[in-house]
Symmetry: C2
Subunit: 187 residues, 2 copies
C-alpha cells in the first residue's frame, strides 16, 4: 500500500466486523512489527495474543475495577472523566474486538515505554496495510492482579505497555482533529 | 512511496551527505508527524529544530559530560559499555548531522514516553518517504543543565524524550538483525 494512503487509513478503529483475524495474519503483522527500531536494538518487546472474546470481556471487567479502585483512592485523577463509562457494567473497554494484542516487556529496560511506542506504531501500520484496524486501549492496561497476569502469561518482572485491539473495521472514520506542530524554537 | 519500500528504506542513518535540510522540508515532515496517535488524542508533543552545527556539537559535549558524571556516580550503569566512546572528545553523538529535532513534552503527561515513541515512528517514516534518513540518539537526551535547556527553549516542566538526527543519507545500510517476534502466549 502507498504510504500516503496508509496514513489516511490508519485511524483509531473501535467498530469491527464480526469476522475473526486468522492467527497467521496476526503472526505476519507481528513479524513486520518487529522491524521497529528500539534503543540499542535491544528488542525488548514481547507479545500476548488474546482471541477468546469471553476472556477479553473478563479482562475488561478487571481493568475497569482496578481503575475505579484507583479513582476511589485518588478522586482528582484524570480518570474522573471516564468514571461513568467505567461504572457501566455493559462496557467492554476492548469494544468486542475479535483480537487483542498486548505489547509488554521487562520493567527494568529504561527505554521500555518508548520502545513499545515505536513498536505499536509499526503494529498499527502493518495491520492497516492488511485492511485491518487497531486502537490502543489505554484503559485496558490496568491489570495488576498477579493471578490475572499469570493467567495471561505475563512473565515475572514484565509490564504491559500497549493493549491494542485488532480487527476488520466496519468503516474507516474521519480523521480526528490535529493541531499544527508546535515548534518551540528553530536554532 | 510504497509502504514495503519504506519499511526497507527506514534504517538508522548515521552518515550524511554534506547537504542542508531545508526548513520547509522539516516543517512538512513535522506536519505529517503530527498525524501520529497519542493517548486520548492529547497531542502533547512539541518540537525543537536545531540546524546550527556548532550548537549541535556543544550539545553533544554537554550530553557526554552529563552521561560521564552519571557513570561516575553509578559505575554499574549500562552506560559503562559506552564509556570509551563518551570520553573521546572527538565524538559528536549527533554524527555531524545537518539537522537535529528534539521531541519533547510536559513531564506531567503520564503517557509522554509512549506518545513520543509513536510520534518518533511517524517522524522516521515521514523523513524516509522524502529521501531523508534519521536516527534516534539516546545519548543525546541528557541535557539537564537549566541554562542549556533554557537556551534550547525547552519550556519549564517539559522533558526531551527523543533526539532525532535528520539528513540525506550517503547510503542506506543493511538492516540490523531482528529476532522473531516473542509471542509469550496465544489465548
Amino acid at each position: 500500500m502507498d504510504y500516503e494512503t496508509l496514513l489516511k487509513q490508519r485511524r483509531a478503529i473501535r467498530d469491527f466486523q464480526d469476522r475473526e483475524v486468522p492467527l497467521s495474519v496476526v503472526e505476519e503483522i507481528l513479524r513486520e512489527t518487529c522491524l521497529a527500531p528500539t534503543a540499542s536494538n535491544r528488542q525488548p518487546c514481547k507479545f500476548i495474543v488474546v482471541r477468546d472474546r469471553e476472556r477479553m470481556r473478563r479482562l475488561s471487567d478487571v481493568s475497569r475495577r482496578t481503575l475505579l479502585a484507583d479513582l476511589d483512592r485518588n478522586p482528582d485523577s484524570p480518570l474522573k472523566a471516564y468514571e461513568a463509562y467505567l461504572r457501566d457494567d455493559g462496557v467492554n473497554v476492548f469494544y468486542n474486538a475479535p483480537c487483542l494484542v498486548f505489547i509488554l516487556g521487562p520493567d527494568d529496560v529504561r527505554s521500555l515505554d518508548v520502545d513499545c511506542g515505536l513498536t505499536a506504531a509499526y503494529f498499527m501500520f502493518a495491520a492497516t496495510a492488511r485492511g485491518l484496524g487497531t486502537c490502543w486501549i489505554g484503559l485496558g492496561a490496568h491489570l495488576k492482579d498477579r493471578m490475572v497476569l499469570a493467567e495471561l502469561g505475563v512473565p515475572e518482572g514484565c509490564r504491559i505497555v500497549a493493549p491494542l485491539i485488532l480487527g476488520y473495521p466496519t468503516a474507516v472514520p474521519p480523521a480526528s482533529e490535529r493541531h499544527a506542530p508546535e515548534i518551540v524554537r528553530v536554532l
